[in-house]
């Protein structure tokens, strides 16, 4: 199965993170696992580059974070979507769908 190139993934990483967090608050490792699980292994997030993305989103005010305890009783940083993050997710999804549809059309034509 061909892996998506890193560049394409990086562009949509924000979207994936926002989508994942829209289901429930989650720590960084959990986010990477969740993306992998839901995509059935098709999307593999580079674990290291997840954190700069989280930091970026937090600076934009789309997510907030706080310390909490994980399932196995470790101290973990949990991220959750803010109201404007939820709005941004909607916009991003629309944008992405339009883009994907456009891409699909072009690919079919040629």
């Amino acid at each position: 199965m061909p892996r998506p190139t890193t560049d394409a993934l990086r562009g949509s990483l924000d979207l994936l993170v926002l989508k994942t967090l829209s289901l429930e608050a989650m720590h960084g490792w959990g986010i990477s696992q969740r993306i992998q699980q839901i995509s059935k292994g098709a999307l593999e997030v580079n674990q290291g580059s997840l954190y700069p993305a989280l930091q970026r989103l937090e600076k934009l005010g789309l997510i907030t974070s706080d310390w909490d305890t994980s399932d196995n009783n470790r101290r973990a940083r949990y991220y959750k979507l803010t109201a404007s993050g939820r709005r941004a997710l909607g916009d991003e999804l629309d944008g992405w769908r339009k883009f994907a549809a456009g891409l699909e059309t072009v690919l079919r034509a040629t």
Binding site: W29, Y51, P52, Q55, K59, R77, G85
Partner: protein, 905 residues
């Protein structure tokens, strides 16, 4: 609130650095542990292997950390902090360079800031109100004695009726009154009788009560008064229930209706306001009291449009009322500009001020270039450092920015010191101006460092840092690293290119061009410190004499129509003079328009119809600035002055239709050379409006120069007869026998009050003390000139030093080889100095050529006489500076040991 979350996140990341760092570490550790657990669970490998795989999957922990740190937005901050630290270390490491650089830049900044602040004050056309940028003044101009041309109630009426594009048009006049409170205590204050629109223009809310309203101006309205913060505080001891209380102004009881807040002083710097109840209909044309008129432009109207209207109206009025309005023009101007007069009417001071202005415009650039040369010479010794850093991966931008920050540290220190100097200078100027004006400045003039000035200085600091840091760094990073690396340690990396050489030449030229005038100004002052006074300065007492005017609404108001008022004032002057002369210690009494030595300047033109061509024909404005004094007939006799030619004034000279003048010797020399002045005609041509002409005055006498203050000699003066009724207030000068004139002041007050209790005396002072202020101001300007001149010379020296030191460093090996081959020290010295000497010589030559136009522009006219002495001494001074600057590097060159120099190969 997403932006609040965002800001909080950014704040934590940027400023709570430690917290952000530990959070990052904790988070990554948690991630790795979770992943390790997962791999152990899912794939059954041992924990060490699982951890290895987890780390690999994460991919370069340190890289990601660095990315996170960078993303926090802190990397430039950390870099900046490092650069600032390096910059500060550099300051400490090269103390000589630091001292010269900081001092030089500080002086440049101080001059720039002081000039900027002063110019801002003079040029600023706004009042500190909402819409304060639309407030204008309407004025009349012309030659009709002191009061005749001023705008009066009838003008106000005309303007109010016809002007388009203005609103809230109003007027004020000021009167001196005793403020008498309920307990009988009296304080003299200047009262502004002002239209209610004045308060509306300001739009300042009263602190207590209300301000004046249009209703208060009705003739039968009860007399009310608004007081300012200062009066409220000092007279009423901040009584918060003051509104409604009674306050007597002179002989009229007023009710206080409001208190204005601190800092409000419209129209000038007033603290007591009463309604302007005057009505034009009550006066015959030409006899209405003078008022000052203000208005606000409606949005979208320009000053020029209003100006055109009042100009046209003045022409119309002149046709309608020729006897009253002939030779009178009107103008509209920004309100603050109507108060700007040039108080410094002293030729040497003007020379000095123009000099400072010229230097001010180039000084910071010259200084910056100088410091840049010094820094460049130092940068030359740091090529190794640059090359190593470049090899280690530092970008050119990074290196240049480091040099920029280093220079910024230097220039910031200079800027702070410079601001301190400017603050001291401004405070000094403010005190002097206050003293010279004899009262407080208009409320909107604040001679202090405004935020705009500080901003300007910050701009200067950055400019200086660019010149000092970026340019040398760009030059130094141009070359190939490999080439530089190869030469590491050889001490030869950089060259002083064409740019720098040109700059050094230019700067020597600038020094030589400006220095003669500075030397001239200083020398004139030193030489003129103790002239023999031609008049008995220490026996003279001067005071301004005026008659308290009654306001509208008082019983005897009608008595004081303008003409009658003047006639009455004339009679009272004569009575005062007679009464004073009866006192045994009074030798003489004389009257003049302004205190001797404080006369205003006018442009005076010559009557060219009678032959000799006018010498100043090239000027855009006709006539030359000349001091013009109005003096009473007996003025010269009272001061013991004998005519050199012709005659002195006689009583008949003041009669209507007679126009005669007396000039001093300097005026004759300036305008006529050796020819006789008697019978020639002169006239003032007006300060601002060229179309206004005074009548021609025939010169009937020549008197010697009478330098009142040291810097006064050589100034051209014209005297015309003063009519007793023309000036109000009038200046009275008394010559007192036996003892200090100031001891006579109480007696003077007593005699004056005995003649008439409504007569007031202002600015009573010994003439020499009064004029001392001007001397002090001149001294201050000259001291500033000296500081600037010395620092320019010093910086020139520093530039030459840098040039030679640089040459020696670069040619170390060559000098070593030549010494090894048996070159004598004279030859070595010649080799080192040759280029520097050539550059200095070229600079001096260019400077000498430039000195002539500079002299012309500044108006010192020194090349005729003094040039013979000054020019060679300036050249000598420059040569001496060059020699001193060269001494240290040349000595260093002579000490170069061949073995040592060659070893570095």
């Amino acid at each position: 609130m997403s932006w609040i979350d965002g800001v909080r996140a950014r704040f934590t990341l940027l400023f709570r650095r430690g917290a952000a760092e530990s959070r990052m570490n904790d988070e990554i550790r948690f991630h790795i542990e979770q992943e390790t657990d997962r791999i152990v669970r899912d794939e059954g490998v041992d924990r060490t292997e699982a951890r290895r795989r987890a780390l690999a999957a994460f991919g370069g922990v340190e890289n990601h950390k660095e990315e996170l740190r960078y993303d926090r937005g802190g990397s430039w901050l950390a870099g900046l902090a490092l650069d600032v630290k390096l910059g500060a270390r550099m300051l400490a490491k090269y103390p000589g360079l630091t001292v010269v650089g900081v001092l030089g830049l500080a002086i440049g900044v101080a001059i720039g800031a002081t000039g900027f602040a002063a110019l801002e004050t003079v040029v600023d056309s706004r009042l500190p109100f909402v819409h304060g940028d639309r407030v204008i003044a309407l004025q009349n101009l012309g030659f009709r004695g002191r009061d005749g041309a001023r705008a009066n109630l009838h003008d106000l009426d005309e303007w109010r009726k016809t002007l388009r594009g203005v609103e809230l048009l109003g007027a004020y006049r000021t009167l001196d009154r005793n403020l008498i409170t309920a307990d009988g205590a009296a304080t003299p204050r200047r009262v502004a009788e002002m239209s209610a629109t004045g308060f509306a223009i300001a739009g300042v809310t009263p602190m207590l009560g209300r301000y004046l309203l249009a209703d208060d101006e009705r003739p039968n309205a009860p007399p009310v008064v608004v007081i300012g913060f200062n009066v409220w505080q000092s007279v009423f001891l901040s009584d918060s229930s003051v509104v409604g209380k009674a306050l007597r102004l002179g002989d009229t009881q007023h009710t206080i209706v409001g208190v204005m807040p601190r800092g409000f002083g419209f129209p000038i710097n007033n603290n007591v306001w009463t309604p302007l109840k005057l009505n034009a209909a009550d006066y015959v044309r030409g006899q209405a009291p003078a008022v000052e008129v203000f208005a606000r432009l409606t949005p979208g109207t320009t000053l020029d449009e209003v100006h055109a209207q009042v100009e046209a109206m003045a022409v119309r009025l002149a046709r309608a009322y020729p006897s009253e309005r002939e030779n009178i023009a009107s103008r509209a101007m920004w309100y603050p500009h109507s108060f700007v007069e040039v108080p410094l009417n002293n030729p040497i001071m003007q020379v000095a001020i123009n000099l400072v202005r010229v230097i001010m415009s180039v000084i910071l650039i010259v200084i910056g270039v100088n410091v840049a040369i010094l820094v460049y010479a130092r940068t030359a010794t740091r090529t190794g450092e640059i090359a190593v850093r470049t090899a280690l991966g530092a970008s050119r931008r990074r290196i240049v920015s480091q040099f920029f920050v280093e220079a910024l540290v230097l220039s910031s220190v200079g800027a702070v010191v410079g601001l301190g100097l400017a603050q001291v200078a401004l405070r000094f100027i403010a005190t002097l101006v206050d003293r010279a004006a004899g009262e407080q400045l208009p409320f909107w003039i604040q001679l202090r460092l405004s935020p705009a000035t500080v901003l300007y200085v910050a701009g200067l600091a950055v400019l200086a840092a660019v010149i000092v840091g970026v340019i040398p760094a760009l030059k130094a990073t141009q070359r190939q690293i490999t080439a530089t690396l190869k030469q590491l340690g050889a001490g030869a990396g950089l060259r002083l290119g064409k740019v720098w050489n040109t700059l050094i030449v230019a700067q020597v030229a600038a020094t030589v061009a400006v220095m003669p005038v500075a030397v001239y100004a200083l020398a004139s002052w030193i030489l003129m410190r103790n002239p023999t006074p031609s008049i008995p300065m220490n026996e003279l007492l001067t005071a301004s004499l005026y008659l308290g005017q009654r306001g509208a609404g008082t019983d005897d108001f009608d008595e004081y129509s303008a003409a009658q008022f003047r006639a009455r004032f004339g009679v009272l002057q004569a009575e005062v003079s007679r009464a004073l002369l009866q006192d045994p210690s009074v030798v003489s009494v004389t009257f003049s328009g302004s205190p001797p030595g404080r006369e205003p300047q006018e442009r005076i033109e010559l009557d060219t119809l009678r032959g000799v061509a006018q010498r100043d024909s090239g000027m855009a404005l006709r006539g030359r600035w000349t001091i013009m004094g109005y003096v009473a007939a007996g003025h010269f006799n009272a001061l013991d002055v004998k005519p050199l030619a012709g005659r002195l004034f006689e009583p008949g000279d003041a009669a209507p239709g007679v126009h005669v003048a007396i000039v001093n010797r300097s005026f004759v020399r300036r305008e006529f050379g050796d020819a006789s002045a008697l019978g020639r005609r002169i006239r003032p041509v007006g300060r601002n409006v060229e179309r206004v002409y005074a009548p021609w005055y025939e010169i009937v006498g020549v008197v010697p120069d009478m330098p009142y203050v040291p810097v006064d000699s050589g100034r051209s003066r014209v005297y015309v007869p003063l009519r007793a009724a023309d000036a109000h207030p009038i200046t009275m000068t008394l010559r007192i026998r036996g003892g200090a004139p100031s001891a006579f002041i109480p007696r003077l007050r007593e005699i004056t009050t005995n003649v008439n209790p409504m007569l007031l005396l202002g600015n009573v002072s010994q003439l020499d003390q009064l004029l001392d202020v001007e001397g002090e101001l001149a001294k201050a300007v000259l001291v500033a000139t000296a500081i600037v001149a010395v620092s320019v010379l010093l910086l020139s020296g520093a530039g030459i030093y840098a040039l030679i030191a640089f040459t020696v460093t670069r040619r170390r090996r060559e000098i070593g080889i030549r010494t090894a081959l048996g070159a004598r020290s004279a030859q070595v010295i010649r080799g080192v100095l040759a280029r520097a000497a050539a550059q200095i010589a070229l600079g001096v030559a260019i400077g000498l050529v430039l000195a002539l136009p500079v002299d012309r522009m500044i108006g010192a006219h020194i090349f005729a006489g003094w040039g013979v002495v000054i020019l060679p001494s300036v050249v000598l001074m420059m040569a001496a500076t060059g020699l001193m600057a060269a001494a240290a590097p040349v000595r260093k060159a002579m000490l170069i040991q061949p073995t040592e120099a060659l070893r570095s190969e």
